[in-house]
Protein backbone atom coordinates (compact mmCIF):
# COMPACT_ATOMS: atom_id res chain seq x y z
CA UNK A 1 0.00 0.00 0.00
CA UNK A 2 2.77 2.41 0.95
CA UNK A 3 4.77 1.45 -2.12
CA UNK A 4 1.73 2.01 -4.31
CA UNK A 5 1.21 5.50 -2.85
CA UNK A 6 4.92 6.21 -3.30
CA UNK A 7 4.89 5.51 -7.01
CA UNK A 8 1.56 7.26 -7.43
CA UNK A 9 3.10 10.38 -5.86
CA UNK A 10 6.04 10.24 -8.24
CA UNK A 11 3.74 9.75 -11.22
CA UNK A 12 1.50 12.66 -10.24
CA UNK A 13 4.47 14.93 -9.55
CA UNK A 14 6.11 14.20 -12.90
CA UNK A 15 2.80 14.57 -14.69
CA UNK A 16 1.98 17.95 -13.18
CA UNK A 17 5.51 19.22 -13.80
CA UNK A 18 5.28 18.15 -17.45
CA UNK A 19 1.94 19.93 -17.83
CA UNK A 20 3.59 23.11 -16.53
CA UNK A 21 6.55 22.74 -18.85
CA UNK A 22 4.21 22.15 -21.77
CA UNK A 23 2.49 25.46 -21.07
CA UNK A 24 5.70 27.48 -20.71
CA UNK A 25 7.18 25.71 -23.72
CA UNK A 26 4.13 26.79 -25.71
CA UNK A 27 4.67 30.41 -24.68
CA UNK A 28 8.38 30.14 -25.45
CA UNK A 29 7.77 29.02 -29.02
CA UNK A 30 4.69 31.17 -29.76
CA UNK A 31 5.89 34.75 -29.78
CA UNK A 32 2.55 36.02 -31.03
CA UNK A 33 1.26 35.58 -27.47
CA UNK A 34 3.61 38.31 -26.18
CA UNK A 35 1.55 40.98 -24.44
CA UNK A 36 4.24 43.63 -23.91
CA UNK A 37 3.40 46.99 -25.52
CA UNK A 38 6.39 49.03 -26.70
CA UNK A 39 4.65 52.17 -25.57
CA UNK A 40 6.18 55.34 -26.96
CA UNK A 41 6.69 53.74 -30.39
CA UNK A 42 3.21 52.28 -30.80
CA UNK A 43 1.36 55.19 -29.19
CA UNK A 44 -0.96 55.51 -32.18
CA UNK A 45 -1.92 51.84 -32.41
CA UNK A 46 -2.02 50.97 -28.70
CA UNK A 47 -3.88 47.77 -28.04
CA UNK A 48 -5.06 47.95 -24.45
CA UNK A 49 -6.94 45.14 -22.72
CA UNK A 50 -10.69 45.66 -22.52
CA UNK A 51 -10.73 45.88 -18.73
CA UNK A 52 -7.85 48.35 -18.42
CA UNK A 53 -8.87 51.25 -16.14
CA UNK A 54 -7.48 54.68 -16.92
CA UNK A 55 -10.04 57.19 -15.60
CA UNK A 56 -13.72 57.57 -14.80
CA UNK A 57 -15.89 59.24 -17.43
CA UNK A 58 -19.54 60.13 -17.64
CA UNK A 59 -21.10 58.65 -20.77
CA UNK A 60 -22.72 61.20 -23.09
CA UNK A 61 -24.71 60.29 -26.19
CA UNK A 62 -24.97 62.26 -29.44
CA UNK A 63 -27.76 64.53 -28.08
CA UNK A 64 -25.42 65.57 -25.23
CA UNK A 65 -27.47 63.58 -22.75
CA UNK A 66 -26.22 61.43 -19.91
CA UNK A 67 -27.82 58.95 -17.51
CA UNK A 68 -26.70 60.46 -14.20
CA UNK A 69 -29.65 61.19 -11.90
CA UNK A 70 -27.48 62.70 -9.20
CA UNK A 71 -28.27 59.99 -6.67
CA UNK A 72 -24.66 60.16 -5.37
CA UNK A 73 -24.38 56.39 -4.91
CA UNK A 74 -20.92 56.64 -6.48
CA UNK A 75 -19.90 59.36 -4.07
CA UNK A 76 -20.90 57.13 -1.14
CA UNK A 77 -19.20 54.09 -2.64
CA UNK A 78 -15.89 55.86 -3.22
CA UNK A 79 -13.40 54.86 -0.49
CA UNK A 80 -11.27 57.99 -0.76
CA UNK A 81 -13.59 60.87 -1.63
CA UNK A 82 -12.72 61.09 -5.28
CA UNK A 83 -16.21 61.98 -6.46
CA UNK A 84 -18.28 64.98 -5.38
CA UNK A 85 -21.71 65.51 -6.89
CA UNK A 86 -23.29 68.94 -6.71
CA UNK A 87 -27.03 68.87 -7.44
CA UNK A 88 -29.46 71.51 -8.57
CA UNK A 89 -33.22 71.50 -8.95
CA UNK A 90 -34.77 72.05 -12.36
CA UNK A 91 -38.33 73.33 -12.58
CA UNK A 92 -40.12 71.26 -15.17
CA UNK A 93 -42.77 72.91 -17.44
CA UNK A 94 -45.62 71.54 -15.33
CA UNK A 95 -44.21 73.22 -12.21
CA UNK A 96 -42.65 70.20 -10.52
CA UNK A 97 -39.15 70.36 -9.09
CA UNK A 98 -36.80 67.77 -10.50
CA UNK A 99 -33.35 66.89 -9.15
CA UNK A 100 -30.50 67.01 -11.65
CA UNK A 101 -26.73 67.26 -11.47
CA UNK A 102 -25.06 70.62 -11.66
CA UNK A 103 -21.44 69.44 -11.54
CA UNK A 104 -19.96 65.97 -11.38
CA UNK A 105 -16.58 66.67 -9.76
CA UNK A 106 -13.93 63.99 -10.21
CA UNK A 107 -10.57 64.23 -8.42
CA UNK A 108 -8.32 62.16 -10.64
CA UNK A 109 -5.37 62.70 -8.30
CA UNK A 110 -7.22 60.82 -5.53
CA UNK A 111 -8.61 58.00 -7.66
CA UNK A 112 -7.19 54.49 -7.26
CA UNK A 113 -9.19 53.03 -10.20
CA UNK A 114 -10.90 50.56 -7.85
CA UNK A 115 -14.07 50.41 -9.99
CA UNK A 116 -16.41 50.62 -6.95
CA UNK A 117 -18.24 53.69 -8.27
CA UNK A 118 -19.00 51.96 -11.57
CA UNK A 119 -20.38 48.96 -9.68
CA UNK A 120 -22.47 51.21 -7.43
CA UNK A 121 -24.07 53.27 -10.21
CA UNK A 122 -27.76 52.24 -10.54
CA UNK A 123 -28.22 53.80 -13.99
CA UNK A 124 -24.93 52.73 -15.55
CA UNK A 125 -24.02 56.35 -16.22
CA UNK A 126 -20.28 56.24 -15.60
CA UNK A 127 -17.60 53.92 -16.91
CA UNK A 128 -13.84 53.45 -16.89
CA UNK A 129 -12.07 54.87 -19.92
CA UNK A 130 -8.69 53.71 -21.19
CA UNK A 131 -6.88 57.03 -21.44
CA UNK A 132 -3.84 56.86 -19.15
CA UNK A 133 -1.78 59.86 -20.22
CA UNK A 134 -2.77 62.11 -17.35
CA UNK A 135 0.42 64.04 -16.69
CA UNK A 136 -0.08 67.79 -16.23
CA UNK A 137 2.11 70.55 -14.82
CA UNK A 138 -0.56 71.91 -12.47
CA UNK A 139 -2.32 69.50 -10.14
CA UNK A 140 -5.39 71.69 -10.21
CA UNK A 141 -5.99 70.40 -13.73
CA UNK A 142 -6.54 66.92 -12.32
CA UNK A 143 -9.83 67.97 -10.71
CA UNK A 144 -12.27 67.45 -13.53
CA UNK A 145 -15.87 68.24 -14.26
CA UNK A 146 -17.26 65.14 -15.92
CA UNK A 147 -20.64 66.38 -17.20
CA UNK A 148 -20.34 68.41 -20.39
CA UNK A 149 -21.68 71.95 -20.59
CA UNK A 150 -25.37 72.06 -21.41
CA UNK A 151 -25.84 68.34 -21.01
CA UNK A 152 -29.00 67.04 -19.44
CA UNK A 153 -30.50 63.86 -18.09
CA UNK A 154 -31.69 61.46 -20.76
CA UNK A 155 -35.48 61.17 -20.84
CA UNK A 156 -36.80 58.01 -19.22
CA UNK A 157 -33.90 57.45 -16.82
CA UNK A 158 -35.05 57.44 -13.21
Amino acid sequence: MFIKQYFKDIYNAVRSLLIGMNRTGYYFTHHKEIITQQYPENRLELNLPERFRGEVILKHDEHNEHACTGCSACELACPNGTIKIINKFDISPDGKKKKAIDTFVYHLELCTMCNLCIVACPTDAIKMAQNFEHSVYNRGLLTKKLNQDGSKLRAGVE
Binding site: L17, M21, T24, Y27, F28, H31, I34, I35, T36
Partner: protein
Protein backbone atom coordinates in the same frame (compact mmCIF):
# COMPACT_ATOMS: atom_id res chain seq x y z
CA UNK B 1 36.91 17.85 -41.62
CA UNK B 2 37.66 20.78 -39.35
CA UNK B 3 39.40 19.81 -36.13
CA UNK B 4 40.96 21.72 -33.28
CA UNK B 5 43.38 18.88 -32.61
CA UNK B 6 45.71 19.74 -35.50
CA UNK B 7 45.76 23.36 -34.38
CA UNK B 8 46.81 22.51 -30.81
CA UNK B 9 49.50 20.15 -32.11
CA UNK B 10 50.96 22.92 -34.31
CA UNK B 11 51.08 25.33 -31.36
CA UNK B 12 52.69 22.77 -29.09
CA UNK B 13 55.31 21.73 -31.67
CA UNK B 14 56.21 25.34 -32.37
CA UNK B 15 56.56 26.17 -28.66
CA UNK B 16 58.71 23.09 -28.02
CA UNK B 17 60.94 23.87 -30.98
CA UNK B 18 61.43 27.53 -30.07
CA UNK B 19 61.76 27.37 -26.29
CA UNK B 20 63.25 24.97 -23.73
CA UNK B 21 60.61 22.51 -22.36
CA UNK B 22 59.96 24.34 -19.07
CA UNK B 23 59.36 27.69 -20.70
CA UNK B 24 57.22 26.05 -23.40
CA UNK B 25 55.11 24.48 -20.64
CA UNK B 26 54.81 27.86 -18.96
CA UNK B 27 53.60 29.42 -22.20
CA UNK B 28 51.05 26.63 -22.56
CA UNK B 29 49.78 27.39 -19.05
CA UNK B 30 49.42 31.05 -20.00
CA UNK B 31 47.56 30.20 -23.21
CA UNK B 32 45.21 27.83 -21.38
CA UNK B 33 44.60 30.41 -18.65
CA UNK B 34 43.78 33.14 -21.16
CA UNK B 35 41.49 30.82 -23.09
CA UNK B 36 39.69 29.73 -19.90
CA UNK B 37 39.16 33.33 -18.78
CA UNK B 38 37.99 34.30 -22.29
CA UNK B 39 35.55 31.37 -22.24
CA UNK B 40 34.27 32.48 -18.83
CA UNK B 41 33.75 36.06 -19.93
CA UNK B 42 32.05 34.98 -23.14
CA UNK B 43 29.86 32.45 -21.38
CA UNK B 44 28.88 34.96 -18.71
CA UNK B 45 27.73 37.46 -21.32
CA UNK B 46 25.92 34.90 -23.46
CA UNK B 47 24.24 32.97 -20.65
CA UNK B 48 22.96 36.06 -18.83
CA UNK B 49 21.43 37.34 -22.05
CA UNK B 50 20.06 33.91 -22.86
CA UNK B 51 18.51 33.57 -19.42
CA UNK B 52 16.81 36.93 -19.69
CA UNK B 53 15.49 36.21 -23.16
CA UNK B 54 14.26 32.72 -22.23
CA UNK B 55 12.62 34.12 -19.09
CA UNK B 56 10.94 36.86 -21.08
CA UNK B 57 9.58 34.59 -23.77
CA UNK B 58 8.31 32.06 -21.25
CA UNK B 59 6.57 34.84 -19.32
CA UNK B 60 5.09 36.29 -22.55
CA UNK B 61 7.32 39.36 -22.44
CA UNK B 62 9.82 40.79 -24.91
CA UNK B 63 12.92 40.80 -22.74
CA UNK B 64 15.94 43.06 -23.28
CA UNK B 65 15.45 44.82 -26.63
CA UNK B 66 16.89 48.32 -26.35
CA UNK B 67 20.69 48.01 -26.07
CA UNK B 68 22.00 47.13 -29.51
CA UNK B 69 20.10 45.21 -32.18
CA UNK B 70 17.48 43.00 -30.43
CA UNK B 71 19.16 43.83 -27.12
CA UNK B 72 22.27 41.73 -27.67
CA UNK B 73 24.54 44.20 -25.87
CA UNK B 74 22.40 44.24 -22.71
CA UNK B 75 24.68 41.96 -20.71
CA UNK B 76 27.73 44.03 -21.71
CA UNK B 77 26.02 47.18 -20.47
CA UNK B 78 25.25 45.36 -17.20
CA UNK B 79 28.89 44.31 -16.88
CA UNK B 80 30.08 47.88 -17.36
CA UNK B 81 27.59 49.01 -14.71
CA UNK B 82 28.82 46.37 -12.24
CA UNK B 83 32.47 47.30 -12.86
CA UNK B 84 31.76 50.97 -12.18
CA UNK B 85 29.92 50.28 -8.92
CA UNK B 86 31.57 50.49 -5.53
CA UNK B 87 32.53 47.13 -4.02
CA UNK B 88 31.24 47.84 -0.55
CA UNK B 89 32.47 45.85 2.46
CA UNK B 90 30.08 46.10 5.45
CA UNK B 91 31.50 47.42 8.71
CA UNK B 92 30.69 44.36 10.82
CA UNK B 93 31.91 41.85 8.24
CA UNK B 94 34.99 39.69 8.53
CA UNK B 95 36.94 41.63 5.92
CA UNK B 96 39.39 38.95 4.86
CA UNK B 97 36.87 36.11 4.44
CA UNK B 98 34.28 38.45 2.96
CA UNK B 99 36.64 39.48 0.18
CA UNK B 100 38.05 35.98 -0.30
CA UNK B 101 34.71 34.16 -0.73
CA UNK B 102 33.85 35.29 -4.30
CA UNK B 103 37.28 34.23 -5.47
CA UNK B 104 36.94 30.76 -3.91
CA UNK B 105 33.63 30.26 -5.68
CA UNK B 106 35.18 31.45 -8.94
CA UNK B 107 38.31 29.32 -8.51
CA UNK B 108 36.24 26.18 -7.98
CA UNK B 109 34.36 26.89 -11.19
CA UNK B 110 37.70 27.31 -12.99
CA UNK B 111 39.21 24.13 -11.55
CA UNK B 112 36.28 21.99 -12.61
CA UNK B 113 36.83 23.15 -16.17
CA UNK B 114 40.14 21.25 -16.36
CA UNK B 115 39.11 17.69 -17.33
CA UNK B 116 36.20 18.60 -19.64
CA UNK B 117 36.67 17.61 -23.29
CA UNK B 118 35.56 20.53 -25.43
CA UNK B 119 36.26 18.96 -28.80
CA UNK B 120 38.10 16.04 -30.28
CA UNK B 121 41.61 16.18 -28.77
CA UNK B 122 40.90 19.52 -27.10
CA UNK B 123 41.31 18.95 -23.38
CA UNK B 124 42.97 21.10 -20.76
CA UNK B 125 43.96 18.07 -18.72
CA UNK B 126 42.93 14.53 -19.65
CA UNK B 127 43.35 12.74 -16.32
CA UNK B 128 42.29 9.13 -15.81
CA UNK B 129 40.05 10.05 -12.83
CA UNK B 130 38.30 12.97 -14.53
CA UNK B 131 34.80 12.25 -13.21
CA UNK B 132 36.02 11.67 -9.66
CA UNK B 133 37.99 14.92 -9.87
CA UNK B 134 34.90 16.82 -10.98
CA UNK B 135 32.64 15.47 -8.26
CA UNK B 136 35.33 16.08 -5.63
CA UNK B 137 36.14 19.65 -6.66
CA UNK B 138 32.60 20.81 -7.36
CA UNK B 139 31.59 20.26 -3.73
CA UNK B 140 34.30 22.69 -2.61
CA UNK B 141 32.18 25.59 -3.86
CA UNK B 142 29.92 25.11 -0.83
CA UNK B 143 32.86 26.33 1.27
CA UNK B 144 32.91 29.57 -0.70
CA UNK B 145 29.20 30.04 -0.18
CA UNK B 146 29.33 29.23 3.54
CA UNK B 147 32.29 31.60 3.83
CA UNK B 148 30.36 34.39 2.12
CA UNK B 149 27.33 33.82 4.32
CA UNK B 150 29.27 33.66 7.56
CA UNK B 151 31.63 36.56 6.87
CA UNK B 152 28.83 38.92 5.83
CA UNK B 153 27.61 38.98 9.45
CA UNK B 154 24.01 39.33 8.32
CA UNK B 155 21.02 37.15 9.18
CA UNK B 156 19.91 36.76 5.58
CA UNK B 157 23.36 35.75 4.39
CA UNK B 158 23.83 33.24 7.17
CA UNK B 159 20.42 31.62 6.64
CA UNK B 160 21.01 31.45 2.91
CA UNK B 161 24.44 29.93 3.33
CA UNK B 162 23.21 27.31 5.81
CA UNK B 163 20.38 26.29 3.51
CA UNK B 164 22.82 26.14 0.64
CA UNK B 165 25.14 23.92 2.66
CA UNK B 166 22.35 21.46 3.56
CA UNK B 167 21.15 21.41 -0.01
CA UNK B 168 24.52 20.90 -1.69
CA UNK B 169 25.65 18.18 0.67
CA UNK B 170 22.39 16.27 0.13
CA UNK B 171 22.19 16.57 -3.62
CA UNK B 172 25.86 15.71 -4.06
CA UNK B 173 24.82 12.10 -3.35
CA UNK B 174 22.30 11.90 -6.15
CA UNK B 175 24.68 13.50 -8.62
CA UNK B 176 27.37 11.03 -7.62
CA UNK B 177 25.07 8.01 -7.93
CA UNK B 178 23.66 9.03 -11.30
CA UNK B 179 27.20 9.62 -12.58
CA UNK B 180 28.16 6.19 -11.25
CA UNK B 181 25.32 4.65 -13.25
CA UNK B 182 27.09 5.65 -16.43
CA UNK B 183 30.56 4.83 -15.07
CA UNK B 184 29.31 1.27 -14.55
CA UNK B 185 28.73 1.05 -18.28
CA UNK B 186 31.96 2.67 -19.43
CA UNK B 187 34.25 1.12 -16.84
CA UNK B 188 36.48 4.18 -16.89
CA UNK B 189 36.60 7.48 -15.01
CA UNK B 190 38.47 9.31 -17.75
CA UNK B 191 36.29 11.80 -19.62
CA UNK B 192 37.97 10.96 -22.90
CA UNK B 193 37.30 7.21 -22.51
CA UNK B 194 33.67 7.92 -21.60
CA UNK B 195 33.22 9.94 -24.78
CA UNK B 196 35.00 7.35 -26.94
CA UNK B 197 32.80 4.58 -25.51
CA UNK B 198 29.79 6.34 -27.06
CA UNK B 199 31.12 5.85 -30.58
CA UNK B 200 28.17 3.67 -31.58
CA UNK B 201 25.47 5.65 -29.78
CA UNK B 202 24.97 7.86 -26.75
CA UNK B 203 24.45 6.20 -23.39
CA UNK B 204 21.03 7.73 -22.91
CA UNK B 205 19.81 5.70 -25.90
CA UNK B 206 21.94 2.60 -25.34
CA UNK B 207 21.41 2.25 -21.59
CA UNK B 208 17.66 1.52 -21.72
CA UNK B 209 15.37 3.01 -19.09
CA UNK B 210 17.92 3.12 -16.22
CA UNK B 211 20.02 5.58 -18.24
CA UNK B 212 16.99 7.81 -18.78
CA UNK B 213 16.13 7.69 -15.08
CA UNK B 214 19.73 8.50 -14.22
CA UNK B 215 19.64 11.41 -16.67
CA UNK B 216 16.48 12.86 -15.10
CA UNK B 217 17.90 12.46 -11.59
CA UNK B 218 21.16 14.04 -12.72
CA UNK B 219 19.28 17.04 -14.14
CA UNK B 220 17.22 17.51 -10.96
CA UNK B 221 20.24 17.12 -8.69
CA UNK B 222 22.52 19.48 -10.60
CA UNK B 223 19.77 22.09 -10.70
CA UNK B 224 19.77 21.85 -6.92
CA UNK B 225 23.55 21.83 -6.70
CA UNK B 226 23.91 25.02 -8.72
CA UNK B 227 21.34 26.70 -6.43
CA UNK B 228 18.92 27.51 -9.18
CA UNK B 229 15.15 27.72 -9.07
CA UNK B 230 13.14 25.64 -8.15
CA UNK B 231 15.89 24.90 -5.62
CA UNK B 232 17.13 28.46 -5.09
CA UNK B 233 16.30 28.61 -1.38
CA UNK B 234 19.79 29.80 -0.62
CA UNK B 235 19.06 33.09 -2.35
CA UNK B 236 15.24 33.07 -2.24
CA UNK B 237 14.53 36.70 -3.14
CA UNK B 238 11.19 36.83 -1.39
CA UNK B 239 12.43 35.54 1.97
CA UNK B 240 16.17 36.25 2.20
CA UNK B 241 16.55 39.25 -0.15
CA UNK B 242 19.49 37.60 -1.94
CA UNK B 243 20.70 34.91 0.46
CA UNK B 244 24.42 34.48 0.80
CA UNK B 245 25.31 37.40 -1.48
CA UNK B 246 22.97 39.95 0.13
CA UNK B 247 25.88 42.11 1.30
CA UNK B 248 27.91 41.93 -1.88
CA UNK B 249 27.91 44.66 -4.50
CA UNK B 250 29.79 45.69 -7.61
CA UNK B 251 32.38 43.32 -9.01
CA UNK B 252 32.32 40.94 -6.04
CA UNK B 253 28.63 40.36 -6.64
CA UNK B 254 29.37 39.97 -10.34
CA UNK B 255 31.83 37.17 -9.52
CA UNK B 256 29.11 35.24 -7.66
CA UNK B 257 26.74 35.86 -10.52
CA UNK B 258 29.32 34.73 -13.08
CA UNK B 259 30.22 31.67 -10.99
CA UNK B 260 26.55 30.64 -10.96
CA UNK B 261 26.41 30.67 -14.74
CA UNK B 262 29.81 29.02 -15.14
CA UNK B 263 28.66 26.28 -12.79
CA UNK B 264 25.55 25.75 -14.88
CA UNK B 265 27.70 25.48 -17.97
CA UNK B 266 30.04 22.99 -16.29
CA UNK B 267 27.34 20.70 -14.89
CA UNK B 268 25.59 20.76 -18.25
CA UNK B 269 28.88 19.96 -19.97
CA UNK B 270 29.32 16.99 -17.64
CA UNK B 271 25.75 15.88 -18.29
CA UNK B 272 26.30 16.20 -22.03
CA UNK B 273 29.54 14.22 -21.76
CA UNK B 274 28.09 11.39 -19.71
CA UNK B 275 24.67 10.96 -21.25
CA UNK B 276 24.77 12.66 -24.65
CA UNK B 277 28.25 11.72 -25.80
CA UNK B 278 30.21 14.96 -25.31
CA UNK B 279 31.74 15.98 -28.61
CA UNK B 280 30.82 12.64 -30.20
CA UNK B 281 28.54 13.20 -33.21
CA UNK B 282 25.14 11.52 -33.34
CA UNK B 283 25.93 7.96 -34.41
CA UNK B 284 23.50 5.10 -34.93
CA UNK B 285 25.15 1.71 -34.50
CA UNK B 286 26.69 0.56 -37.77
CA UNK B 287 24.95 2.88 -40.23
CA UNK B 288 28.30 3.92 -41.68
CA UNK B 289 27.08 6.42 -44.29
CA UNK B 290 24.80 8.20 -41.80
CA UNK B 291 27.58 8.30 -39.23
CA UNK B 292 29.95 9.69 -41.83
CA UNK B 293 27.64 12.59 -42.66
CA UNK B 294 27.28 13.38 -38.95
CA UNK B 295 31.09 13.42 -38.64
CA UNK B 296 31.24 16.45 -40.96
CA UNK B 297 29.75 18.68 -38.25
CA UNK B 298 32.76 19.88 -36.19
CA UNK B 299 33.05 18.20 -32.79
CA UNK B 300 33.08 21.42 -30.76
CA UNK B 301 29.73 22.35 -32.29
CA UNK B 302 28.31 19.04 -31.09
CA UNK B 303 29.68 19.67 -27.62
CA UNK B 304 28.37 23.22 -27.32
CA UNK B 305 25.06 22.29 -28.94
CA UNK B 306 24.38 19.55 -26.42
CA UNK B 307 25.56 21.68 -23.51
CA UNK B 308 23.37 24.59 -24.50
CA UNK B 309 20.44 22.25 -24.95
CA UNK B 310 20.85 21.12 -21.34
CA UNK B 311 21.33 24.72 -20.19
CA UNK B 312 18.08 25.59 -21.92
CA UNK B 313 16.34 22.71 -20.12
CA UNK B 314 17.56 24.02 -16.76
CA UNK B 315 16.42 27.53 -17.62
CA UNK B 316 13.06 26.12 -18.65
CA UNK B 317 12.79 24.46 -15.21
CA UNK B 318 13.67 27.71 -13.52
CA UNK B 319 10.96 29.76 -15.18
CA UNK B 320 8.26 27.10 -14.87
CA UNK B 321 8.43 25.60 -11.40
CA UNK B 322 7.72 27.24 -8.04
CA UNK B 323 10.35 27.20 -5.32
CA UNK B 324 10.40 24.29 -2.85
CA UNK B 325 10.34 24.71 0.91
CA UNK B 326 13.44 23.50 2.76
CA UNK B 327 11.67 20.41 4.19
CA UNK B 328 10.22 19.56 0.77
CA UNK B 329 13.68 19.95 -0.70
CA UNK B 330 15.26 17.52 1.72
CA UNK B 331 12.28 15.13 1.42
CA UNK B 332 12.71 15.06 -2.31
CA UNK B 333 16.36 14.14 -2.00
CA UNK B 334 16.30 11.63 0.85
CA UNK B 335 12.94 9.98 0.21
CA UNK B 336 12.77 9.97 -3.56
CA UNK B 337 15.94 10.74 -5.50
CA UNK B 338 18.39 8.79 -3.35
CA UNK B 339 16.44 5.47 -3.08
CA UNK B 340 15.51 5.60 -6.76
CA UNK B 341 19.05 6.30 -7.90
CA UNK B 342 20.42 3.52 -5.65
CA UNK B 343 17.95 1.02 -7.09
CA UNK B 344 18.70 2.38 -10.55
CA UNK B 345 22.43 1.83 -10.00
CA UNK B 346 21.83 -1.83 -9.08
CA UNK B 347 19.64 -2.30 -12.14
CA UNK B 348 22.28 -0.72 -14.37
CA UNK B 349 24.99 -2.90 -12.87
CA UNK B 350 22.89 -5.95 -13.73
CA UNK B 351 22.47 -4.69 -17.28
CA UNK B 352 26.21 -4.02 -17.58
CA UNK B 353 27.16 -7.46 -16.24
CA UNK B 354 24.70 -9.28 -18.48
CA UNK B 355 25.67 -7.08 -21.43
CA UNK B 356 22.03 -6.21 -22.19
CA UNK B 357 22.84 -2.69 -23.37
CA UNK B 358 23.26 -2.04 -27.05
Amino acid sequence: MFSLESFTTIVQDWLNKTFPPNIALFFEFVIVGVLAIALFAGLGLILVLMERKVAAWIQIRLGPNRVGPKGIFQSMADTVKLIMKEGLTPDGADKFLFNLAPFIVMMVAMLVLAPIGFAKGFHIWDINIGVLYISAISSVSVIGILMAGWASNSKYSLLGAMRSGAQMVSYELSVGLSILTIIVLTGSLSINDIILSQQTGWWIFRGHIPAVIAFVIFLIAVTAETNRAPFDLSEAESELTAGFHTEYSGMKFALFFLAEYINIFIVCAIGATLFLGGWMPFHIGTWDSFNHIMDYIPSFLWFFGKTFFLIFLIMWFRWTFPRLRIDQLLNLEWKYLLPISMFNLILMTLIAIKGWHF
